[in-house]
Amino acid sequence: MSFDIGNPSIGLVFWTFVAFLLLLFLLRKFAWKPIMEAIGEREKSIEDALTSAEKAKAEMARLTNENEQLLKAARAERDIILKEAKELKDQIVADAKTLAQAEGAKLIEQARKEIDDQKKRALAEVKNQVSSLSLDIARKVLQKEFEDENKQEALVADLLKDVKLN
């Protein structure tokens, strides 16, 4: 019984060629291509998922950080605003005070002026009254005086006595 070592049978060589090449062709088309693509895609999607998770984590950290920053800034701003408001309030109060004082002073001044005016007017009126009264009195007195002819002549004589003709 001879052994195949030195004499590979042509039929087996031929059929192995056919079978292997056919297998290679069919598996390449219907198995290896879809399988390798699916594996590749899955690996890519896993990698993408991991990368995006990493990114999301970084984004999260960034957001937290930003939030903290914002909070800090807001707090600082609030403090500033409060401080400013307090200052403003003080200012306003101070301003109001000065304004009120000025206004008061002005009012007082005005009042004083008014009073002075009134006084002056009153004094003028008093003066007028006094003058008219005195005129009335004088007229009445004169009327009285002129009723008595003798007295008038005496007076004129008296006045003429004083007048020295030069």
């Binding site: 060589v13 059929w15 079978a19 292997f20 290896w32």
Partner: protein, 361 residues
């Protein structure tokens, strides 16, 4: 409690595997002498009842024109002959295991030594001249077994590919989850490190080589019908695989590869030595692939068959337990070798391709 349950199921599965392997061994043991006696009966050349382990083993690891089932029953396989007068098609059962000659359209044929088909002339003598002119393209046991493996591979991997389409982007399941690590192993541990970034182009070839060799090795380990052929232990098969590797490597060889062979980095007066050495290297690498796979698988078959033959050499049933223990050990070892040889063949193929497509030295 959970752990104990787990342990129990493991133990049970181990026993099951043990039982299956033992059964196979027993079947193999039962298988061997029947064939042998049949062979002796039909030939009658080696003397009555004289056990010839060499003949038995050689018959088992050689190709055949029928696929033996049990006892005297076997599946006849188609015989395809190309003669100088045209093709001949008939079933191998026409030979009646070599007892009868078959009168075909063009010649009368005789099955010699159960595997070689010769032309017989009118006087019943073998016609050497005419025999040289016929080409035997028969579907032999190895070819049929190989077709079965190819069919199984197509079935397995198209269904796996379908699973990938159906469960797109999801984790693998079932057969898919069993094969994916192996596919990834071929990609990440064989192709990528040896070929580099151009690995994707060679993946189909490497995967096909790996699974083709592996499944044929495994089929060869099954001692009964759907297996039992020594496909990867036949030099014709390993020759074809190695030849394809040779073609792929040299077709894809870039200018660095050819410069290394034709204009090596040595003083010019060494060229007459170096160039032939390099050219021999081109051939010897796939040649080593061919011999390695053939020798490993054939050796495994020979060892197992020899151990079984011991029972019949010693003509004692007492030797059977010892023989079976060794056969069991060898079967388990051969399971490892089946995967290992497929791995080595694929790895070296990837390495040779890597050497051919490497950009710089």
């Amino acid at each position: 409690m959970d752990f104990r349950h787990f342990f129990d199921s493991k133990k049970i599965s181990f026993i099951a595997i043990f039982a299956v392997l033992t059964t196979f061994s027993v079947v193999q043991a039962a298988d061997t002498p029947t064939v042998n006696s049949a062979a002796i009966d039909s030939h009658g050349a080696h003397g009555e009842g004289e056990f010839q382990p060499t003949d038995v083993i050689m018959e088992h690891i050689s190709d055949a024109h029928d696929w033996h089932l049990w006892g005297h029953s076997s599946i006849p396989l188609p015989v395809i002959l190309y003669t100088d007068k045209g093709f001949e098609f008939f079933l191998s059962s026409q030979f009646h295991h070599g007892e009868h000659d078959y009168r075909g359209k063009h010649y009368t044929y005789r099955l010699v030594d159960k595997k070689k088909i010769q032309v017989v002339n009118a006087a019943g003598q073998i016609d050497e001249e005419a025999s040289k002119k016929i080409w035997d393209f028969s579907i032999t046991k190895n070819v049929a077994s190989m077709f079965l493996s190819v069919f199984l591979l197509l079935l397995i991997f198209t269904s796996v590919a379908k699973a990938y389409k159906k469960r797109e982007g999801k984790a693998p399941k079932g057969l898919q989850s069993f094969l994916e690590p192996i596919i990834l192993f071929v990609r990440d541990d064989i192709a990528r490190p040896n070929i580099g970034h151009k690995y994707a182009r060679f993946m189909p070839l490497l995967l096909t080589i790996f699974f083709f060799i592996w499944i044929n090795n495994l089929m060869g380990l099954i001692p009964i019908f759907p297996g039992a052929a020594n496909v990867t232990g036949n030099i014709a098969v390993t020759f074809v695989l190695a030849f394809i590797v040779l073609i792929v490597v040299n077709v894809n060889g870039n200018k660095y590869y050819w410069k290394h062979i034709l204009l090596p980095d040595v003083p010019w007066w060494l060229y007459p030595i170096m160039i032939p050495v390099e050219l021999v290297g081109v051939i010897s690498r796939p040649f080593a692939l061919m011999i390695r796979l053939f020798a490993n698988i054939t050796a495994g078959h020979i060892i197992i068959l020899s151990l079984i033959s011991l029972i019949f050499v010693f003509k004692s049933l007492a030797i059977a337990p010892v023989s079976l223990a060794f056969v069991l050990f060898m079967n388990v070892l051969e399971l490892l070798v089946a995967a290992l040889q497929a791995f080595i063949f694929t790895l070296l193929t990837a390495l040779f391709i890597g050497m051919a497509v490497e950009e710089h030295h």
